[in-house]
Subunit: 142 residues, 2 copies
Amino acid sequence: MDRKLLFRNFVHFMANVHQITNDMTKDAKTEDITQVQYKILEYITVSQSVTITEISDCLHVSLPNTSRELRKLIEKNLCKKVSDESDRRKYYIQLTEKGNALMEEAFRKIQLQFDERIKHLTDEELQEINKAVEVLQQKIFS
Amino acid sequence: MDRKLLFRNFVHFMANVHQITNDMTKDAKTEDITQVQYKILEYITVSQSVTITEISDCLHVSLPNTSRELRKLIEKNLCKKVSDESDRRKYYIQLTEKGNALMEEAFRKIQLQFDERIKHLTDEELQEINKAVEVLQQKIFS
DNA sequence: GTAGTTAGTTGTCAAATGATAATTGTTTTT
DNA sequence: AAAAACAATTATCATTTGACAACTAACTAC
């Protein structure tokens, strides 16, 4: 396997992924939240319960800035802090009902766009796609 | 094929792609350029010769803002404007030698990270990955 | 040839994001 | 028990990015 070629294909692929997902998530945000705030909510959504430092590390946003954005999200009643009983310096961040509803709505909209993209495909092709996602997920993005 | 499940896998996959590519491109920028400026250079790199409006459209940056960022990139001697002979309102944007060198360096660094990720894989697995990328590229991101 | 459209520019303002220093309260180490 | 390390916050400032209005120059259609 020509690794140089693989890399080129991969880079091109990644650029496309970014562009398309930008398109798809563009109108997904109903509420008045910023891009970073959306990313934070998304991260909380897929990770369920996370500390503030974890959010900061994974999203590459400094701890002070993460703290600031979380304050805004909490003010908007989209998430809440839960104190860790065994280490009272820590807080776990969780979505509120409102936050959950917001993200579900966002995902619903993204799914509409996604469905639009795959609507002309056969069941076989969909399985092929699912397989491809699994492969990449497992071999590269794990 | 369960479309709901496919979508969930896909969303999770996209989130991972974003995170990993962020990691990979984080240190790729040698020069003193901003995120948006890097995106523009990347787009010019993969697309070869593009107009300002095309850049604006594809990257979802308004025309005035695209124009401004391009001015900065041109001042930094990373790209240049070439007038379209048949329509003198238009300009094609191309990388300068310096810009080309910058992007090659960036890609080299990204490739290092990429190689790190795939170094333990067999040739068969690499071909599997290449196939997966092709499938997604063709069926979804085209 | 004139009205309308298109490609791009300039200038300005507000908001979002990034960076950093100083501080508080808690836990761990020694 | 003091010192060091850790999690998070607050405050402040610079930079980046986004949005919009007004403009120029070139092209198109009628």
